[in-house]
C-alpha cells in the first residue's frame, strides 16, 4: 500500500505468482433478514489474478462480492456465518476497522457513480478522506491513477471540470481511477461494463488485463464472453451455492458439473 505503483515490478505474463489463497472464503453463509442469500461458500481467490463470478441473477455472486469489503453491512438485519480472510486476517476481526478494510479493497460499481465534484477531486477522494492534503502527492496520485485507468490523455486538460460531464465509458474509467488511487490490494468490480457500449467495454477489459499486474481483481459479470476474455479463474454460482470454481479455460472447455455446462452453453439462466 505504501509502495508507489512505478516501483512494483511484476511480470504480468506469469499468472499466479502471488499467494493462491490470498482471499479465503470458508463455509461462508449470509442472510438478508430471514432470506438466505449465500450458503456454505468455500473458495480461495489467488493474488494478482482476475477471478470472475458468474451465474444467473439472484445467485448470490454480487452479494459475495459486496461482502468482501463489507459493503452489505449498510443493510439492516443482515448476518453471516463462517469467515473471510484477506492476507490471512479475518475481515470481521473486531480489532480491524471496517474503514481500513475498505481502504485495502477498492470497488467499482455496476452503475458508474462519480461524485458531483471535479474530475480531480473524484480521483483523490480516497486520499482526502484519509487525511492527505499535500498538493504534490495529490497531483501525482491523480495523474498516475488516471494514467493507469487509461483516462489521462482524455481528461488531462479539464481536471477541474465536473466529472458529470464525462461520457458513460469515461465515467466508469474515472470510477476505476478513483478505486485504485489509494493503492488498494484488491479491486472488486460489480458488472463494470453492463451499462457500456462495446468500445467502452473493450477499453475496460484491456484495463483489467493491465491492472491485474498490481491488484487482485474480482469481477462479477453477466457476460460469459467477458468472463472468458478477462479472467484467469471463474467461479459459477447458482441459488446461493458455489457450484464450481476453477481455471477459466477449464470451466469453459471442460466443466466438471453439468449445471455449469448447461449455464455456459446457454441452456438455462
Amino acid at each position: 500500500m505504501t509502495t508507489s505503483p512505478t516501483r512494483i515490478q511484476v511480470n504480468p505474463s506469469v499468472p499466479g505468482d502471488g499467494r493462491p489463497d490470498y482471499i479465503r472464503i470458508q463455509d461462508y453463509g449470509f442472510w438478508y433478514g430471514a432470506k438466505k442469500a449465500l450458503d456454505a461458500i468455500t473458495l480461495d481467490i489467488p493474488e494478482r489474478q482476475v477471478t470472475a463470478f458468474i451465474g444467473p441473477s439472484g445467485c448470490g455472486k454480487s452479494t459475495l462480492l459486496r461482502n468482501l469489503n463489507r459493503m452489505n453491512d449498510l443493510i439492516d438485519a443482515v448476518r453471516h456465518e463462517g469467515d473471510i480472510t484477506v492476507g490471512g486476517r479475518s475481515i470481521y476481526d473486531p480489532t480491524v476497522e471496517v474503514i481500513s478494510l475498505r481502504r485495502r479493497v477498492g470497488m467499482v460499481f455496476q452503475k458508474s457513480n462519480p461524485f458531483p465534484k471535479s474530475i480531480y477531486e473524484n480521483v483523490v477522494y480516497s486520499l482526502r478522506v484519509a487525511g492527505v492534503s499535500d498538493r504534490d502527492i495529490l497531483d501525482e496520485t491523480c495523474e498516475s491513477s488516471l494514467r493507469r485507468a487509461a483516462l489521462w490523455d482524455e481528461v488531462k486538460d479539464r481536471l477541474q471540470d465536473s466529472a458529470l460531464g464525462l461520457s458513460g465509458g469515461q465515467m466508469q474509467r474515472l470510477c476505476i481511477a478513483r478505486a485504485i488511487a489509494n493503492q488498494p490490494e484488491i479491486l472488486l468490480m460489480d458488472e463494470p461494463c453492463s451499462a457500456l457500449d462495446p468500445i467502452a467495454t473493450g477499453k475496460i477489459e484491456e484495463l483489467i488485463h493491465h491492472l491485474k499486474a498490481q491488484f487482485t481483481i474480482v469481477i462479477v459479470t453477466h457476460s460469459m464472453q467477458q468472463a472468458a476474455r478477462v479472467s484467469d479463474r471463474t467461479a459459477f454460482f447458482y441459488l446461493g451455492k458455489l457450484v464450481e470454481a476453477d481455471r477459466t479455460e477449464k470451466i469453459f472447455m471442460n466443466p466438471a458439473q453439468s449445471q455449469t455446462e448447461a449455464y455456459i452453453s446457454g441452456r438455462f439462466g
Binding site: N69, M71, L74, D76, I99, S100, R102, R103, V105, G106, M107, F109, K111, S112, N113, P114, F115, P116, Y125, S126, R128, V129, A130, L164, G168, M171, C175, R178, A179, N182, A195
Partner: protein
C-alpha cells in the same frame, strides 16, 4: 361481404383526458384566488400613495365638502333596484370635523368641481387637510399670494427646511440624548450598587455630573432647535370659504393634485412610497413610514433562518443517517411532522414561558445581576426581544426544515454513498463531503418554506418581543451593533395594529394594504435570494443524469 373479423367498437377517447381538465380546474381555482388576493393588495396598496384629485362638492343642505372622492357604493339597507348611491369623501381636518372621512348620499351632491389650486397637506398631527390656499404669511411680515407662480415652490422649500430642522432635532433628542441616557442609567446602577455595598463612588459621581452637564448642553441645543421653527403660516379657506390657517412648521408635505400631470403624480407617488419604506412611523403608526417594522421583519426572518437551518439539518442527519430505522423512529418522525400543525400561538406561549422567562430570566440572574438588583428588577434578557422571537419562530419552522432535509438526504443516489464508503470514507466524511452538498438544494427549499412561514407569522410574536412602537432599531452604530435583546416592530403585527387598533380606521386602510404589499415583497425578495443560491448549488452539485 361479411367482415371475417368481428367489429371492434370504436376506440373510446383516451381515458385520461377528462382528468386533465379535472386536475387543471384545481390549479386554476387556486391561481385565481391567489391572483385576486395579490391584485386587491397591489391595487389598494398603490392607492395609498396616489395623489387623488380634490373635489369641491356642494351639498343640498348647504354644506360644502373639499377632499378626494374615495369610493361610491350602493347605500346599505336600501334595495339595489332603487339605485341609491352614497359617496365617501376624505375631508381631512380631523380636529375640526371630528373625523376625516364622510359618507354623503350621491343625490345630496348638488354640484361638484375640481378647483385647480386646491392644496392637499400632510401634517405632523391630525392627519390630512385640504384647502383652497390664499396666501403664505411669511415670518418677515411679507405675504405671498397663492396666485403667485412661485407660491408652491416657496411653500415646498419652507417645508423642506422645516423637515431638515426636525431631523436635526430628532438626531439630538433620540440619538445623542438617548446615548447619554443609556450611560446615565449605567452610572446610576453603579451608584446604587456602591451605596449598597458602601464602596467609594466619587468617580461614578463625577461621571454622572459630567453626563448631566452633557445632557444639559444637548437639551439646550434641542430647545433652541425647537424654538427655531419658522413662524410662517399657510392661510386659505375650506370649501365653504371659512378661513383656515396652518403653521408651516406643522406640515410634512403639500401638493396640488388637480394641477399634477401623470408624470407629476407618478413622481409624487414614488416619493411618498419611498418615504413609506424609509421613514419612521408617526401618529400612532397611521402615518409616516414603516422602516422599523420592515427592518424588524427582515432581521427576525434572517436570524430565524440562521438558527433553524443548522438545528434542522443536524436533526435530520441523525434521523436519516444514524438512527436505527424502526418503530420508535417512525413515531419520532410522525411527531416531528405533526409539530408543523401546532397552532403558532402555542409556540408563542412556549417561547414566552421557556425562552423568555426560564432562559432569559436565568441568563439575567447570571449575567445582569447588578441591573436586576439595582434597577428596579428591570429584566434585560428576561423580556421579549429579537433573539427570543427568532428562536420561537425557529422552533415553529423546525419541522419544515427537518422534513425537507430528510427528503433531500434520501434522494441522494445510493451509489453515491456506497462509492464514498468504498473509498474508505467514514460515515461522517460521507455525510459532509457527499450527502450534504448533494442535498443542499433540497435543504434550501425547506429553508425557503420556513422563511415564508416565519416572515408572515404574527400571533406568537406578539408575546415574545414584537411591539407596536419600538423606540430604537435592533441594529445601530453602538456596540454590539446587533441588539438581540431589544424589542422590535414587525410588518405582520403592524398590519394587525393598523387595521384593528387604530383610531381612524378609514385613514389607516390604505396603509394596511401598503404594509401588506411590502411584507409580500419582502418575502418575495428573501425567497428570490434563497432561490438564487439554490440554483447555483444545483448547478454545482447536480447529480449524474444517467
Amino acid at each position: 361481404m361479411k367482415d371475417p373479423v368481428p367489429n371492434v367498437p370504436d376506440a373510446k377517447p383516451p381515458a385520461g383526458e377528462a382528468f386533465v381538465w379535472f386536475t387543471s380546474v384545481g390549479l386554476v381555482l387556486g391561481l385565481t384566488m391567489v391572483a385576486a388576493l395579490v391584485g386587491v393588495i397591489v391595487l389598494n396598496g398603490a392607492k395609498a400613495f396616489w395623489p387623488a384629485a380634490i373635489e369641491r362638492a356642494e351639498l343640498a343642505d348647504g354644506r360644502v365638502l373639499l377632499g378626494p372622492l374615495v369610493q361610491e357604493r350602493l347605500k346599505p339597507g336600501t334595495p339595489p333596484a332603487a339605485g341609491l348611491l352614497e359617496r365617501q369623501y376624505q375631508i381631512g381636518l380631523r380636529e375640526q370635523n371630528g373625523q376625516s372621512f364622510a359618507w354623503i348620499d350621491a343625490s345630496a351632491v348638488r354640484s361638484s368641481s375640481l378647483p385647480p389650486g386646491a392644496l392637499a397637506l400632510e401634517r405632523m398631527e391630525n392627519g390630512a387637510a385640504f384647502l383652497l390656499p390664499a396666501e403664505l404669511r411669511l415670518a418677515g411680515g411679507s405675504r405671498l399670494a397663492a396666485s403667485d407662480p412661485a407660491f408652491l415652490s416657496r411653500l415646498e422649500s419652507l417645508i423642506a427646511s422645516v423637515a431638515e430642522r426636525r431631523e436635526r432635532l430628532a438626531e439630538v433628542e433620540k440619538v445623542r440624548i438617548g446615548r447619554i441616557n443609556t450611560e446615565l442609567q449605567r452610572v446610576k446602577v453603579g451608584l446604587r450598587k456602591a451605596a449598597d455595598l458602601g464602596t467609594p463612588d466619587a468617580e461614578l459621581k463625577a461621571e454622572a455630573a459630567r453626563l448631566d452637564a452633557d445632557y444639559q448642553l444637548l437639551a439646550a441645543e434641542a430647545r433652541s432647535l425647537r424654538d427655531g421653527f419658522p413662524a410662517d403660516v399657510l392661510a386659505g379657506t375650506d370649501g365653504a370659504g371659512r378661513p383656515l390657517e396652518f403653521p408651516v412648521a406643522s406640515l410634512v408635505r403639500a401638493w396640488e393634485p388637480n394641477r399634477l400631470g401623470l408624470g407629476g403624480k407618478l413622481a409624487l407617488a414614488a416619493s411618498r412610497a419611498w418615504e413609506f419604506v424609509s421613514a419612521e412611523p408617526r401618529e400612532a403608526n397611521t402615518e409616516g413610514g414603516v422602516l422599523p417594522a420592515l427592518f424588524g421583519t427582515f432581521a427576525m426572518t434572517v436570524l430565524m433562518s440562521a438558527l433553524v437551518t443548522p438545528f434542522g439539518v443536524v436533526a435530520a442527519i441523525y434521523l436519516r443517517e444514524y438512527a436505527r430505522q424502526g418503530a420508535v423512529l417512525r413515531m419520532v418522525r410522525i411527531s416531528v411532522n405533526n409539530l408543523a400543525g401546532v397552532p403558532s400561538i402555542v409556540f408563542g406561549v412556549f417561547g414566552l414561558g421557556f425562552f423568555v422567562y426560564v432562559l432569559g430570566g436565568n441568563l439575567d440572574r447570571l449575567l445582569f445581576a447588578d441591573e436586576l438588583r439595582y434597577n428596579n428588577n428591570t429584566p434585560v434578557l428576561g423580556t421579549g426581544g429579537l433573539l427570543w422571537a427568532s428562536l420561537t419562530l425557529a422552533l415553529m419552522t423546525l419541522p419544515v426544515v427537518i422534513v425537507a432535509t430528510e427528503e433531500a438526504l434520501s434522494a441522494v443516489p445510493r451509489g453515491m454513498r456506497e462509492a464514498s464508503l468504498a473509498c474508505g470514507a467514514s460515515k461522517w466524511q460521507t455525510i459532509r463531503e457527499i450527502l450534504l452538498p448533494a442535498s443542499a438544494p433540497g435543504i434550501l427549499t425547506g429553508v425557503i418554506l420556513a422563511m415564508a412561514r416565519g416572515a408572515g407569522e404574527v400571533a406568537p410574536l406578539m408575546i415574545v418581543g414584537v411591539v407596536k412602537l419600538a423606540p430604537t432599531l435592533p441594529i445601530d452604530g453602538e456596540f454590539p451593533f446587533l441588539h438581540m435583546d431589544r424589542k422590535f416592530m414587525h410588518l405582520g403585527f403592524h398590519i394587525y395594529d393598523l387595521g384593528f387598533q387604530s383610531p381612524d380606521s378609514d385613514a389607516a386602510r390604505p396603509m394596511v394594504f401598503a404594509s401588506t404589499l411590502l411584507l409580500l415583497l419582502l418575502v418575495l425578495f428573501l425567497n428570490l435570494g434563497a432561490i438564487a443560491i439554490r440554483n447555483r448549488l444545483r448547478e454545482r452539485y447536480k447529480t449524474s443524469a444517467f
